[in-house]
Symmetry: C2
Subunit: 340 residues, 2 copies
């Protein structure tokens, strides 16, 4: 039910790495914000953050925080989403939730606007923002799926520290000089040293030997693309990079294609920037692309090991397209559809 | 022709990152060295290196450097191998060459001793040591191939700076503090900044869109495993790690297998150490495994996207098993076979 009154926006988790990005993106994209409510845990109560040049107080997230709020952007972990998102919905807000709490619930749309904005219709108050590594992959897969039908995906990720939050980024920055001095470092946020190291674990392990992150890439990709049986396998790896994820993606299509056909197809894809001139060593990289908005695709080639195979390399900023930007784009798509 | 006289060993490229590792490994493995000739470019002439507690002078690599040498370990780049290895052979030496110069020549054995030590018979003086990323992968693939027949390999690599030499490792160490201070850094050895970054390019690009490194993994794997048509695809990525390579390997076998069968098979594999207890976050990682000798395999699981698929994670020290150690193991295998 669209209302004509003021657009009051709440950010739950305003002091986190994604929260900071929400503030920037709402401002940069001139999202209509008449009033902004910043919410965080008790620890951050009393802090102030700046939005459009004005200082805003951070309030403690509570069930009564959402009176008058029309859009609540949540990025404060699954447990808090479960606790507080229903209260926001009950108060009349649309919740776009960055956590994994509701993503696989049948009645909750899981949306990457470039792919399935239509799934927003019929929502019941909560929209789930997909996992960061899934978002950038499905943006790249979607035009290929429409043109050539994707039949299998094998992906290996190179995931930045930011995916584990601001403290994880600080841990990488703190460890690096110590490792260079030959000192032992203690891992606090991550399961192991991340500086000058990497490890094939993002999130916890499940009984099938995959991590939860890897299975998110399987299940969320299927849900977003509307292909409940699509074969997907992932190996998710944390690397000593600050805030953009990279992915080596091998795709099997329903029939053989040329590189030219794939490039032409991807270049029409919404949200995609092709960056692919190998002879000039031009391809997407996480450091220079940090802070950008597109999903960058390079290393596009016909897979020499499979007659219908294509290989590509996909990079996107984890805090922006992988989190805050996609959530704001969901809100924008809802406005266009008269849902917000 | 085996001779009973003294074992004179030459190292061409003694002052490089692999050269230093040759000295360590010959000593650690008690390889029989009666006399050691250290060779390098003019730049390093006059330096001394320590071997078994004794100081050895570094001499300039020249065509007349090899009189009396029985084993010449080369790691000084393909151009110098082409120039000087034939002179070493003409002087009666067996050359184990770490460069790519001779690897794909039909009469040159390309050997990973755990896989194809038999290929050493009938050599003509030069034995090629495979590419680092290929060595560790074929050690892990070989027992699977013997037990279940490997039908396709999809690999994504996470390659350390050491693969580009000692100066590349120094570049990573020099860049890291500068990047943390927000300074711009210049890439000299690598095509781009490597600290807190990564890039999908190792070696130069070829016309099919793959890099030379990626095609080495294709062609060398086929030659070592004796499967000239084995479908292999690789994405090779340089990561900000100092000296061990990691690989996410997806394998398609000739029939379905269980995880238990794969683990049992790999645990019998020569040169392999299984490190795989996900519930304890135990899997191979490049930082703690730097300086070790085995090929470490973890994250072993049935690939949920393919009925005959298996996924695994393979880590090995690039300077040891990926270069110097494998070369010395080749020499040891030749001694066992009476070829040296």
């Amino acid at each position: 039910a669209k209302e004509e009154d003021a657009m009051q926006v709440a950010i739950a988790g305003a002091t986190g790495a994604v929260g900071a990005e929400f503030l920037r993106i709402l401002s940069q994209r001139r999202f209509p914000v008449d009033d902004l409510v910043l919410l965080a845990s008790e620890r951050s109560e009393g802090k102030t953050l700046t939005f459009r040049g004005r200082s805003c107080p951070v309030r403690r997230l509570a069930k009564d925080s959402f009176a008058g709020v029309r859009l609540a952007l949540f990025s404060c972990g699954a447990a808090r989403s479960v606790e507080f998102a229903p209260a926001a919905v009950a108060a009349g807000a649309v919740v776009v939730d960055n956590s994994s709490a509701f993503r696989m619930e049948k009645e909750v749309p899981l949306v990457v606007p470039e792919v399935n904005a239509g799934a927003l219709r019929g929502h019941r108050g909560i929209i789930a923002n997909p996992n960061c590594s899934t978002i950038q992959m499905v943006v790249a897969l979607w035009p290929l799926h429409q043109a050539f039908r994707v039949e299998r995906v094998v992906v290996s990720t190179y995931q930045a520290a930011s995916g584990a939050g601001a403290r994880a980024m600080a841990e990488l920055e703190e460890q690096a000089p110590k490792v260079l001095r030959g000192e032992k470092v203690a891992a606090k946020v991550f399961p192991h040293q991340i500086a000058f190291n990497l490890f094939p674990q993002v999130d916890v392990f499940l009984d099938n030997g995959y991590t939860k992150e890897e299975m998110k890439m399987v299940h969320e990709t299927r849900k977003i693309m509307g292909e409940p049986d699509l074969p997907v396998t992932a190996t998710c790896v944390r690397v000593p990079v600050l805030r953009a994820h990279s992915e080596a993606v091998n795709v099997e299509l329903s029939h053989p294609v040329t590189r030219e056909e794939v490039v032409a197809c991807l270049s029409t894809g919404a949200g995609i920037e092709i960056m692919d001139d190998p002879k000039k060593s031009l391809y997407p990289m996480p450091f220079p692309l940090s802070g950008t908005d597109a999903v960058y695709v390079g290393r596009i080639r016909v897979d020499i090991s499979h007659p219908q195979g294509v290989a590509m390399w996909v990079v996107a900023d984890q805090l922006r397209k992988g989190a805050a930007l996609n959530a704001v784009q969901i809100a924008e798509a809802m406005q266009r559809q008269g849902l917000l």
